[in-house]
Symmetry: C2
């Protein structure tokens, strides 16, 4: 028997967060009530605002509360004509963190998966087709996940690029930096051998 | 450069939760936006309601949105005259989970700590004094944390009980069930030896 219905309800609601089980939910609820009610209220506001107002960018399909996202609005990001195709908005954050890319993005919000009924239109390829048609894009960098579905999606988009005479490239597969060779799986290692680069 | 101000704001707000750093906050925000907007909205409601409406029980000081909590309201929990004194509402959940206790609780919401300026009135001992005076309590079980401050607080309350001629007991120190003896620290082991119980 618990002491408060509302507290129960809060613990239950906290479990919608990924990686939060009953124990963490309890710890979070008590922490907020005991030490940070202001933070809890700020979180409630941020959540309800984000859940209702954040939609998708009309140009690249990433999450934004505006019609067009900050990156697509920035004219500097259009200069080099590069378009990086990723599966999810979180991937944009990962690519941005490298500081190696200054072009624009296109977010598929998923990958092709005919068995689940997810076809080209569901991952926004009609919009991508329209953007390639419009011109201004010189290279499409395919940064979908290195999974079977991600590879298939990359190949499909590469074909689309060929139709529009735009060059397409795929991010390199190989051994991760800082890892040990003996721990790398066979498929990755053979990709890494095939993709070897001349040093001298 | 991020794509959305509101998303940034949500990730920042999520970090008020204990154990949530920048990476988890990002994962949580994207998960809610992509897969569970309804859950996010429910969480927002539960949070704002809990943060504004949950106060303290007038009898035992635990968290509740009502004047008196469910446990204090239940006449069955008064029958055996036992009162378990704990440091935080989370401790009530822990004791309740054992199923071994059917009395009432009193929550200190902290412990005595003269160096931090936390005296008897700050942990509600005036209210406890009043409850002991009212009668109906036959035994006070001191379940404060097994720390220096928790011990000092337990001893202080034991003295208070003596004034009112109410018996006071302290939960047992000893080796945890399922642990290995060689891994138990010396202080715990000596407490465990001193508190040994006759088998035959």
């Amino acid at each position: 028997m618990r002491t408060s219905q509302m507290l129960e309800h809060l613990m239950e609601a906290l479990r919608c967060l990924p990686g939060v089980g009953p124990k963490s939910a309890q710890r979070m609820a008590f922490h907020l009530l005991q030490r940070d009610r202001q933070g809890g209220l700020r979180l409630a506001d941020a959540l309800s605002q984000a859940m209702t107002e954040i939609g998708h960018c009309q140009t690249c399909r990433t999450f934004t509360e505006e019609d067009v996202c900050h990156i697509c609005k920035n004219p500097k990001r259009q200069e080099n004509g590069q378009l990086c195709v990723v599966e999810s908005p979180a991937d944009i954050a990962a690519v941005e963190a490298t500081g190696q890319f200054s072009g624009r993005y296109f977010v598929l919000m998923g990958h092709l998966s005919p068995l689940d009924g997810i076809g080209p239109a569901d991952i926004g390829l009609d919009l991508l087709d329209f953007r390639l048609q419009q011109g201004g894009i010189t290279e499409v960098i395919l940064a979908t996940n290195p999974t079977v579905e991600g590879e298939a999606t990359a190949h499909y988009i590469a074909d689309l690029c060929q139709v529009h005479h735009v060059s397409a490239s795929r991010i390199a597969h190989g051994v991760p930096v800082g890892g040990e060779l003996e721990l790398v799986d066979g498929t990755t290692l053979s990709h890494s051998l095939m993709g070897r680069q001349r040093l001298s």
